[in-house]
């Protein structure tokens, strides 16, 4: 059976969930083979997890150039590997970096590219959700092999029943100067919250313009913490400086699909819905009974969030 290359998304020595989702998808098309692209020593701590989710081979491409320059070296290594392995398909996470690697790979291989897919069938037919999730499309690459970026949180990762120790193959990395044009000179890690990652969380509590200030966002955080959730925000809230931009949910922000999404003081514009409407259960608190967010809420409270939320927090504490 031909291999399906899955480009591993990793950070802080851990495999990101989207990778496990891709390994789960890959099994439908062939033998999953994970590709770790990173600095020296990046792969060692990832191999076990990758095997648990079905990787029978792990290709490790480790070189400081892969970290020091933006994506072009990674795309070059990957193109080389595709040439050697002749895989049945290539799957890459639909993250900022993943999309960029995929774009370059498509040009290098002169191969069609399917972006942001949410499902993939054994015959390479992909599902995409477009126009703020309002239209569902099935599509296929018609030139070259199935090459796709996979939207995080699109399916539930499944471990394999009996994972065998994978074959670990080191890939030789020689990066041409032409791929070393964009140099990363600084990486700044800002205070990282202890909350679950927004796109992976099973509960997301988001605040909008109605929350009113950065200070008031503490209320949103408090509710999120009581439910073990992540905090999100509408664009009106991030643009107003109430909450950092990386927590924006929606068309130009993150797409989330948690079990529970709570929208506080958010009107529910199309661009916001684009990022949250596939959530399993949606709860909304808004003082305007006509707000469009109520059209998709499973449970809506028409009321002042500064009364409703503190009371809910108190009630949750009582029940703990």
């Amino acid at each position: 059976m031909a291999q399906v290359l899955v480009v591993v998304e990793h950070g802080g020595g851990q495999v990101k969930k989207v990778t496990l989702e891709m390994l789960t998808l890959a099994r439908r098309l062939g033998e999953p083979a994970a590709v770790v692209l990173g600095g020296p020593g990046a792969a060692a701590e990832l191999v076990d997890t990758l095997a648990t989710y079905g990787a029978t081979t792990v290709y490790t491409a480790e070189h400081s150039d892969l970290e020091e320059y933006l994506v072009a070296p990674k795309a070059a290594v990957l193109a080389e590997l595709v040439g050697q392995v002749q895989p049945a398909a290539v799957l890459i996470g639909a993250t900022q970096e993943g999309k960029e690697i995929a774009a370059r790979l498509a040009v290098k291989l002169d191969n069609g590219l399917l972006s942001d897919i949410s499902d993939l069938a054994a015959d390479g037919t992909a599902t995409q959700e477009i126009f703020a999730g309002s239209t569902i499309v099935t599509s296929k690459v018609t030139k070259g092999l199935p090459l796709a970026t996979v939207r995080p949180n699109s399916l539930t990762p499944e471990p394999v029943e009996s994972a065998a120790a994978p074959t670990v193959t080191a890939v030789e990395v020689t990066v041409d100067d032409s791929a070393k044009l964009a140099k990363v000179t600084e990486r700044v890690v800002e205070a990282r919250s202890a909350r679950p990652e927004l796109t992976e969380a099973s509960v997301v509590v988001s605040g909008g313009r109605g929350v009113g200030s950065a200070e008031n966002f503490k209320l949103v955080e408090e509710l999120a913490d009581l439910l073990g959730g992540a905090v999100g925000a509408s664009r009106a809230a991030t643009d107003s400086g109430f909450y950092p931009h990386q927590y924006q949910v929606g068309q130009t922000g993150k797409t989330v699909s948690p079990q529970l999404y709570i929208a506080l003081g958010i009107s529910g514009a199309i661009q916001h819905r684009a990022g949250m409407q596939t959530s399993k259960t949606i709860v909304a608190v808004n003082k305007d009974g006509e707000a469009p967010i109520f059209d998709l809420a499973d449970f809506g409270v028409v009321g002042d969030l500064f009364k409703v939320v503190p009371q809910a927090i108190e009630e949750l504490r009582k029940r703990k």
Partner: protein
């Protein structure tokens, strides 16, 4: 080093801004039933929002350093409207790649066409939006950089160009990173980078007289079979509308809204 350009300091640049016309993302958008391509006839078409930020950034660089700003669009005839709108913000001229054979082009083909046009313009800096609201592929800057052998600095929330070097700051999952490259380079911008200006009345009047060069595929030496539906490297097989979510229970807070909310969460086993 950019002596071939008129006016300004030695940092004066030839800047090309990529502008795409897209259907309004705030309204209902659809694909045509016949060929699954974007229906551009029924709704309002606008400049892709992030491209406004690219135009603004180009104008700020021009104001500070001199040089020239050219708008480049690949799109159908009606994209002219967006091109004039872009010019009304301040750029000097525009190039519009317009050819019937381009309908239904995939990202790969679009990048081939835009790259060919960029080669004729020999820019020092290519500015574009980080992503388009209809495609959302974030592919164009890297596809173009790959084809042109330039660096791509993507998702900038801050851009500085000095001594032939572009440096950006961009948001990451847990902070930000600083990335730098020598010119020429492609830089894509996020909507956090600036606040785009509104066209002035004077700008709107001036835009009507600014030169817009229309290029066909033949002008760029590209065969019609390489692009459009004929040369597409991926195909949409089918599309359907997502069934609308149905609204559930809605209560009006009468002093017990918070408790009711928690009761609902408990009934759904979230607490």
């Amino acid at each position: 080093m950019y002596a071939h350009l008129n006016g300004g300091s030695s940092d004066a640049m030839n800047i090309v801004v990529l502008v795409k016309q897209v259907p309004d993302s705030g309204a209902e958008r659809r694909l045509q039933d016949t060929d699954h391509t974007v229906d551009r006839a029924s709704g309002t078409n606008l400049i892709n929002e992030m491209d406004d930020y690219a135009i603004e950034e180009a104008l700020r660089l021009q104001e500070a350093q001199g040089g020239e700003v050219t708008v480049l669009t690949m799109g159908p005839e009606q994209a002219t409207e967006s091109i004039r709108k872009a010019l009304s913000m301040g750029p000097d001229k525009a190039v519009h790649i317009c050819d019937d054979a381009l309908a239904g082009s995939c990202a790969l083909a679009t990048s081939k066409v835009l790259a060919a046009a960029l080669r004729t313009l020999s820019p020092d800096l290519v500015l574009c939006g980080a992503e388009s609201t209809d495609g959302r592929v974030q592919a164009m800057p890297h596809m173009l950089a790959e084809r042109l052998g330039m660096a791509a600095l993507t998702g900038a929330r801050k851009l500085v160009v000095e001594n032939g070097t572009a440096t950006i700051e961009r948001q990451t999952e847990d902070g930000y990173e600083v990335v730098t490259a020598s010119l020429p380079a492609v830089v894509s911008v996020w909507d956090t980078i600036n606040e785009p200006r509104y066209p002035s009345f004077k700008g709107i009047m001036a835009a009507k007289k600014k030169p817009v060069t229309v290029l066909s595929l033949a002008d760029l030496g590209i065969e019609p079979s390489e692009v459009g539906a004929a040369g597409a490297t991926s195909a949409v097989l089918a599309h359907q509308l997502r069934p609308a979510r149905t609204a559930g229970q809605k209560i009006v807070d009468e002093g017990d809204g918070g408790v009711k909310l928690v009761e609902f969460l408990a009934s759904e086993k979230f607490v």
